[in-house]
């Protein structure tokens, strides 16, 4: 059986989540490996969410936010950009493959981009194989 990765998507309510809706209403095809959690802003994402997701068995984590400058709360994603950059560095130094964590800016009108990013990211995670390093074995 081929490997079907579990990918956690954390999407901001105002842009990426709406973008995902648009991808849906325009009937765009993208892999079903993504499970999306909606948050009010990308800066609401606690880095622990990401560490915990990997521990609980996510093979990849995709974070989506508004384009910098377009944040519904004006500056939220600018903080998030710095914070998530640090998260990425920490994951990298701890020995996690850097490709398993990705941040993308996807606006409400970019249904196409959402579908493309998810397709591409899923393919990338499939190539990386199952994530075993952080996963808690039961």
């Amino acid at each position: 059986m081929s490997f079907e990765p579990k990918i956690l998507g954390i999407a901001c309510n105002w842009c990426t989540y709406t973008g995902a809706d648009l991808a849906g209403t325009t009937r765009l095809q993208y892999p079903q490996n993504l499970r999306v959690v909606r948050v009010m802003c990308s800066s609401r994402i606690n880095p622990s969410f990401i560490f915990r997701a990997f521990q609980l068995g996510a093979d990849g984590v995709l974070v989506g936010g508004c384009h910098p400058g377009d944040c519904h709360y004006n500056t939220g994603n600018l903080y998030a950009r710095r914070r998530l950059a640090v998260t990425k560095k920490i994951l990298e130094f701890s020995g996690m493959e850097p490709g398993r964590f990705r941040v993308e800016w996807i606006s409400a009108s970019e249904g196409n981009k959402f579908a493309e990013v998810v397709t591409e990211f899923t393919k990338q995670i499939k190539n990386l194989g199952p994530q075993t390093q952080f996963k808690i074995s039961q």
Binding site: P47, S48, F51, R52, Q55, P68, G69, T75, L78, Y79, R81, R82, R83, L84, A85, V86, T87, K88, K89, I90, E92, F93, S94, G95, M96, E97, V103, W105, Q133, F134, I136
Partner: protein, 288 residues
């Protein structure tokens, strides 16, 4: 020129006594006698006569900035600060935990400090490697010049060069040793959260038992919480009873923050901590 610890001790005593006598401060955070000479202890002098109990020698490694947040806001205090400690004070001022006007900083220029547990000399391998306090009101002694200036990040090269599997194995081995005594967070001048995320039950962020999963969650999140704030005093690693080289990870995160945001922690009271700040022109490249 060698550092005269005795001279620093005398000056520390005189300054502390003077400050307490004039009532400029209500307490002085410095070092006092421990159970033997090699093990001095953090000490709080409250009366002028307490100043005689102050000691300073090469084993006085503790970061006294750790104790500042324990006292009610507005307490006037004097703090004995070495190079890294002064950076911790600056960082705490940036974070508005203490006010500059409440503090009298007694700067101590020093090198050749020794770890009281192992006797090893402490240098840029485990700390920021600076010799002179960055911020002080009174300098006890003369500024150190002419000592080799080594980048505190040199020690990282060997770990950055590892492939990711080896690095993961290294951290797994190290973090699995953790017994969750939390000496690292308690010794850290920047860890003042109450309660700490790992002590919370709702939500429960990580396991409390000292096993791989909970240890990884605790330490990675702690590294993250100290990103751009760690001033590289190395106290966490010296406090650790099982010798986990936490300083390596903190150094790495500090280095990345410096590369990405162009600002080191605790260098200027005017700065804002990098993660509660942003620039519109931050590059998206940092996310790659």
């Amino acid at each position: 020129m060698a550092i005269s610890f005795k001279q620093i001790e005398d000056k520390l005593k005189t300054e502390a006594k003077g400050l307490l006598e004039t009532g400029k401060v209500s307490l002085v955070l410095a070092y006092g006698k421990g159970y033997d000479e090699k093990h001095p202890m953090p000490y709080v002098a409250r009366r002028p006569s307490d100043a005689d109990n102050i000691v300073f020698n090469e084993f006085c490694t503790h970061n006294m900035a750790r104790y500042m947040v324990r006292y009610p806001a507005g307490t006037k205090m004097a703090v004995a600060v070495k190079a890294a400690d002064s950076r911790a004070v600056i960082q705490l001022i940036q974070e508005e935990k203490v006010k500059r006007e409440d503090l009298v900083l007694l700067g101590i220029p020093a090198y050749g400090m020794k770890n009281p547990k192992t006797g090893e000399t402490i240098d840029s391998k485990t700390t920021c490697g600076l010799y002179n306090p960055v911020l002080y009101d009174v300098l006890l002694g003369e500024e150190v010049h002419g000592q080799p200036v080594v980048s505190p990040y040199d020690v990282l090269a060997q770990y950055e060069a590892m492939d990711k599997e080896a690095r993961f194995a290294f951290w797994k081995k190290e973090l699995d040793k953790c017994i969750r005594c939390y000496a690292c967070r308690k010794a850290c001048p920047m860890c003042y959260c109450d309660p700490c995320f790992i002590d919370q039950n709702k939500p429960k962020w990580g396991e409390k038992s000292p096993e791989s999963a909970g240890n990884l969650m605790y330490h990675l999140t702690r590294f993250h919480h100290l990103a751009g704030r760690c001033i590289d005093c190395g106290e966490c690693s010296r406090a650790c009873p099982v010798n986990i080289p936490l300083y390596l990870f903190h150094k790495k995160v500090a280095k990345d923050c410096e590369d990405m945001f162009g600002q080191a922690a605790g260098m200027s009271v005017e700065d804002k901590p990098v993660l509660v700040n942003f620039r519109v022109d931050d590059s998206d490249k940092i996310l790659e």
